[in-house]
Amino acid sequence: MSLLSFTLAVLGCSILAGLLGALTGLGGGVVIVPVLCLLFKIDLHYAIGASLVSVIATSSGAAAVYVREGFSNIRIGMFLEVATTLGASFGAYLTATVSGNWIGILFGVVLLYSAWASLHKVDLEPTMTQPDSLALRLKLMGSFPTEGKDEVYTAQHVPAGFGIMFVAGTLSGLLGIGSGAVKVLAMDQVMKLPFKVSTTTSNFMIGVTAAASAGVYLSRGYILPGLSMPVVIGVLVGSLIGSRILVRAHVETLRVVFSIVIVALGAEMIFNGLTGRL
């Protein structure tokens, strides 16, 4: 295979990964890493390096759109980024001490969890609880317009949310992904923030989280320019197309189909990790 056809093949797969990532809401990184490892037999460290760069691109590219909608909360995002960047630095450090096979197994587990979480989006009715005093002091609250009036919300269980965010950051740094599913878990399920606020703020945080492990990835040589090029461009283009489709089409059936793909990828990553092929 010539370099041009190799690059085009990676580009095509990256566009598909970006599309799939956007439509399932999991992000492109979580899809492109197993594709690069399993399909192209690329070393896991190179795959997570290219993926990490693409994650920064898609997060930043989408943020402009989300910000305009007025759902993302920059205070909550910035506060929790203290936890995710610390976690990401730790995760990136771990990539050299944990073997590729273990990273692959963990990757598979995260894929399976993400697929499960994306299918079980329970939009909890906001229960009226006592406003968390810590959240009030830290101004972890906000409002967004809904049906003509403003809906006000305040974060709950701040320390637990902060802790899970550290774990989300660690996974991001260790696996080269945005780990949006875990970030949403922390905000939506634990901190009881409205779902729309959780997903858009999570996206907002992903770029900064990934940037915290980029320095380590770069100096360790995980980021290959020649390989990263088609991956970054492809995932970015794919996710932009995906988010356009999301606005227009009814995607419930697609979501189920894609989740099956994600489960298959996750299972194969675990299998390859267990049998020592990564």
Partner: protein, 124 residues
């Protein structure tokens, strides 16, 4: 009142991120074109981990490679722009929250910025 000003800060951040990504993507594409055009030989072996060449592992190496119009260095520069984009967003937060006289959140943003800078300075 504060809500409106918050919103303005958010929109400014969003626009900054968008410009950063577009710029970075264009540089990566230009570098990619150069790389593919001047490449000779077979597809590099990515099956086994050897680490990227030293020239692509540091800001200094990438910048010096750009002077000789090396395609991969230009891609590397685009990647650096991409990494810098969210970091600039945090810097924006430090300035923005200071202007809003929200000292606590200016400090929070500063903390994130320091963690990011340290992650580049401390190499392990």
């Amino acid at each position: 009142m504060t809500e409106q000003r918050d919103q303005r800060l958010e929109v400014a951040m969003g626009r900054m991120l968008q410009i950063g990504v577009i710029l970075a993507a264009l540089v990566v594409l230009a570098g990619g074109a150069l790389y593919l055009k001047h490449f000779t030989g077979s597809v590099p072996n990515y099956h086994r981990f050897e680490g990227a060449p030293v020239a692509y592992r540091s800001v200094r190496g990438i910048l010096s490679g750009m002077r000789s119009l090396d395609g991969q260095s230009l891609i590397g520069f685009g990647i650096l722009l991409l990494i810098a984009t969210p970091i600039c967003r945090v810097l924006f937060g430090v300035i923005g929250f200071s202007l809003l006289k929200d000292r606590f959140y200016a400090a929070v943003s500063m903390t994130v910025l320091i963690i990011l800078v340290l992650s580049f300075v401390i190499r392990r």
